[in-house]
């Protein structure tokens, strides 16, 4: 039984994804699929809010690697917000962090995207 759920919302060309629980098995693949769909629908920016994420393992890293790759292909912006130090360390170690924009919280990210236009 997967300990993961995902909610998402979008306004204009920004989509916010709120994963919840453990990103450590194939139950979390919906995160990758949903982000791909959002990009396909023409979203220019994706925000992933990590507030409710507890644990990320290798499968999780693979899912985010896929997300990063897809945003690069679509020339879109990928923002990570509300990350715990442990999450940040993993992404840094795996070389993902340089492909995403990190913000303290969702508002910061939205404000930045608004400024950017």
């Amino acid at each position: 039984m997967s300990n993961f759920s995902l909610s998402s919302r979008s306004a204009r060309d920004v989509a916010v994804l709120m994963p919840k629980g453990y990103i450590n098995d194939m139950g979390a693949v919906s995160l990758e699929r949903t982000s791909e769909q959002m990009l396909g629908k023409g979203m220019n920016s994706l925000i992933v809010n990590f507030s409710n994420v507890q644990y990320i393992n290798t499968i999780g890293v693979s899912i985010f690697t896929g997300m990063v790759q897809k945003t690069l292909e679509h020339r879109s912006v990928l923002c990570f917000t509300n990350m715990k130090k442990a999450h940040r360390d993993v992404f840094e170690m795996m070389g993902l962090i340089k492909h995403v924009m990190v913000f303290a919280d969702e508002d910061d990210a939205l404000a930045f995207l608004k400024r950017k236009g």
Partner: protein, 407 residues
């Protein structure tokens, strides 16, 4: 210093990932789900966005794409890469190899198109005890950095683990394939059995024009009762076969006795009463896939009150199968013409069965028989097994009778 710390952290992460991989590999998921999860673990370990996993088919000499991740083309599953035995020998087992490593290989040259399409950066041939089982193909790392020496070491461990998983999975697939083949063989064998048995039944009935198709009707009625009693499919088949063959012993009885129209002499009665034992002797030599066929035929002339033959068994010693055959055999005898008498009208036959209920025929079986007849007359049974064999002009009368007798 910072670099070394990072290396150590990476090593720790790799160790944890290997544990994840082990967990996925031994999970109870089906092969594709298991392999997809394993592929996610591997791609996560090296931040590789795209990858594929291939299964080797030795008889077909190709690698088949089992699962993939992050490919632009969404319809890659099942795609193949031909590879010959001598080409396999040139691969370094469980060792990561780049396109440049394989540039001179016929295998690479032959599959260059797919190689480019999948953007394969690292090819990992999987071997178990020298046997080639499949391969993992990894794309470029995110950001395009080359695989470092330490990462290649981890890849070697990954290869061993994946090779074993794939090997076990293939053993399982082979077993499943064999099981399917066996089932097909079994079905075919059963058909041959049926054909043979039906040929025998026809031979039995042919000996006496009066008993023509008697065996078929007995088998058909017996199946109807067994089904109504909720017997298992296998046992229903068994009683069908027993019904077809119950009189096989008559093949040996002198045809003159069988066809005699006058009352039989004592020695002739003795002769004809041998047929259940002869049937048993013939059939007990055959290893049928159904149980109790021999016993059913041996006792089909026994009676509840112990006055039957050949063993004068009493009610408690008779199985349901025997009781069914005893009833339907006698009922069909009553309702067909015999050399020594004309058939009874259906009404009379019913009365005769009712008269012998409890002495010759078992009550539960008899009641079941009438219940089926009643249902068949009311059209409650989709494929009637008894009614089509009964030629009767006044069906209305029969309907009233059967409904009165059904319990």
């Amino acid at each position: 210093m910072a670099d070394r710390k990072l290396d150590l952290k990476r090593l720790m992460f790799s160790m944890a990932s290997l544990a994840d991989l082990g967990e996925e590999a031994t999970s109870s998921k089906d092969l594709s789900s298991k392999m997809r999860a394993a592929l996610y673990v591997i791609t996560g370990m090296f931040s590789v966005p795209s990858a594929a996993l291939f299964l080797y088919h030795p008889q077909r000499h190709y690698l088949e794409l089992l699962v993939d991740k992050g490919q632009r083309d969404k319809a890659l599953q099942g795609i193949t890469m031909p590879i010959l035995s001598e080409q396999i020998k040139r691969l370094r087992p469980n060792d990561p190899q780049t396109a440049r490593d394989l540039a001179g290989h016929a295998f690479y040259q032959r599959n260059r198109g797919l190689w480019t399409k999948l953007q394969i950066e690292m090819f990992l041939p999987l071997f178990v005890k020298g046997e080639f089982v499949g391969a993992v193909a990894l794309g470029r790392k995110l950001g395009g950095a080359p695989f470092r020496a330490a990462e290649k070491d981890v890849l070697r461990i990954v290869a061993h683990q994946m090779a074993i998983t794939l090997h076990n999975a293939r053993l399982f697939l082979d077993l499943a394939e064999k099981a399917a083949e066996n089932k097909k063989l079994y079905t075919r064998m059963q058909r041959i059995y049926h054909d043979t048995v039906e040929a025998f039944a026809a031979a039995i009935d042919a000996k006496d024009e009066y008993t023509k198709e008697h065996s078929y009707r007995v088998a058909s009625y017996a199946v109807a009762i067994a089904r109504e009693l909720g017997w298992k499919k296998q046992d229903i088949e068994g009683i069908y076969i027993a019904g077809l063959l119950h009189d096989i012993g008559k093949i040996i009885v002198d045809v003159k006795v069988i066809k005699k129209t006058e009352t039989l002499s004592a020695p002739e009665i003795c002769e004809i009463r041998k047929h259940p034992q002869i049937s048993y002797d013939i059939l007990s030599k055959i290893k049928f896939p159904w149980k109790d066929i021999g016993k059913f035929v041996l006792h089909h002339h026994e009676r509840l009150d112990g006055t039957g033959y050949p063993n004068c068994l009493k009610e408690a010693e008779l199985s349901d199968g025997v009781k069914i055959l005893a009833l339907v055999d006698a009922f069909d005898a009553m309702t067909s013409n015999r050399p020594y008498r004309d058939k009874l009208p259906l009404e009379k036959a019913f009365q005769e069965v009712m008269r012998c209920k409890g002495t010759q025929f078992d009550s539960k079986i008899t009641n079941t028989f009438f219940r089926i007849l009643h249902k068949e007359l009311n059209g409650e049974i989709k494929e009637p097994q008894i009614l089509p064999h009964l030629q009767e002009t006044d069906m209305r009368n029969i309907k009233a009778l059967a409904s009165g007798l059904a319990m």
